[in-house]
Symmetry: C3
Subunit: 140 residues, 3 copies
């Protein structure tokens, strides 16, 4: 593993934070369009779907960051960064679909899960090898 900071992971992470800020902004725009002033979080179905779409992204964001960084640190930085970009695309599909209807959130959601699964599998493999290397003195 390189000792310099993983700049690709950092770039994708920063980009994902900007994407999350953009999704939060779209909830704000939906508030304006439907004239729903904070702290109210209920309203027309489209607003409620937009609000929940963002909440779901917020709930999953730390899980994304954890799998992105464990995959990138212990397995492959390039694969992690590329899968991170795929995750953002999946979240965009999810968000846009969910705004239209509850059912249309699903394709984006399944792609989200696929990206998280890939990151997770590589992270588990990398960490397992790291633990073997460090604590059992094997050299795989």
């Amino acid at each position: 593993m390189a000792s310099d900071p993983p700049v690709l992971l950092a770039a994708v992470t920063l980009l994902s934070a900007f994407h999350m800020a953009f999704l939060a902004r779209r909830v704000g725009w939906s508030r304006m369009a439907h004239k729903i002033l904070p702290p109210v979080v209920s309203g027309p179905p489209e607003f409620e779907r937009t609000f929940r779409a963002h909440q779901n992204c917020v709930e999953f964001y730390p899980l994304f960051l954890v799998t992105l960084w464990t995959c990138g640190t212990f397995s492959s930085e390039v694969v992690a960064a590329a899968t991170g970009l795929l995750y953002m695309l999946a979240r965009e599909l999810y968000f846009n679909g969910y705004i239209r209807s509850t059912k249309k959130r699903l394709p984006g959601f399944f792609l989200t899960l696929a990206a998280l699964l890939l990151l997770s599998v590589l992270a588990v493999a990398g960490i397992a090898r790291g633990i073997l290397d460090k604590y059992l003195y094997t050299h795989m």
Copy 2:
């Protein structure tokens, strides 16, 4: 401090992300059991308790990650990792208790706070020593 990546911390962190995903899944199962389609978040008391149990875990998760990693980096990786496992157990108790009744969330919640307190105290001690070492040239 070792320069190789802290693999035990990473393992516990990844495990905690899987645990959070499992809790999110259980909210989904509760949705199915009570036939509550997204984006609705209100319903029978048991569903509402399950939903809030998950939300509380989501709200605290970044605080857990921050105290886990500052404790593990600046104090003891092994103690941090073990306390991280305790935190997951506490969250499981909290979640299962909360589903049964609002009051039964408390034992798990207090154990959650105890784990966070331990991580925090060790993190503060480790960081304080780190700042003294780095900026005041003391060698404790």
Copy 3:
């Protein structure tokens, strides 16, 4: 970049986690003052504003951590740490303002955005230079 762990960033991060815990505690106090037992999240306007103020802080917290650490790692640790303190101050203003009225949340919120913007600009600059250094072999 230094290879020892960034202790100032860690200190500010830990402090921000304590601040988040304090804000969560204030939602708990508001529950008690208005006699609103979990899992209920609706009630008098003041409680609902307090609840949403905390939720907004929760939603933004991972974005704060990401911009703080990318700025601190790839640009300047001292500037990032100082801006991190400013962010906490901004969140305190936001929270206190929001409790009084929806409109009074705005000054703190704009200061929050200013802090995030500063962290983001420095992070983008630092990461861009890092990518050029690492992948294009330039030495800026």
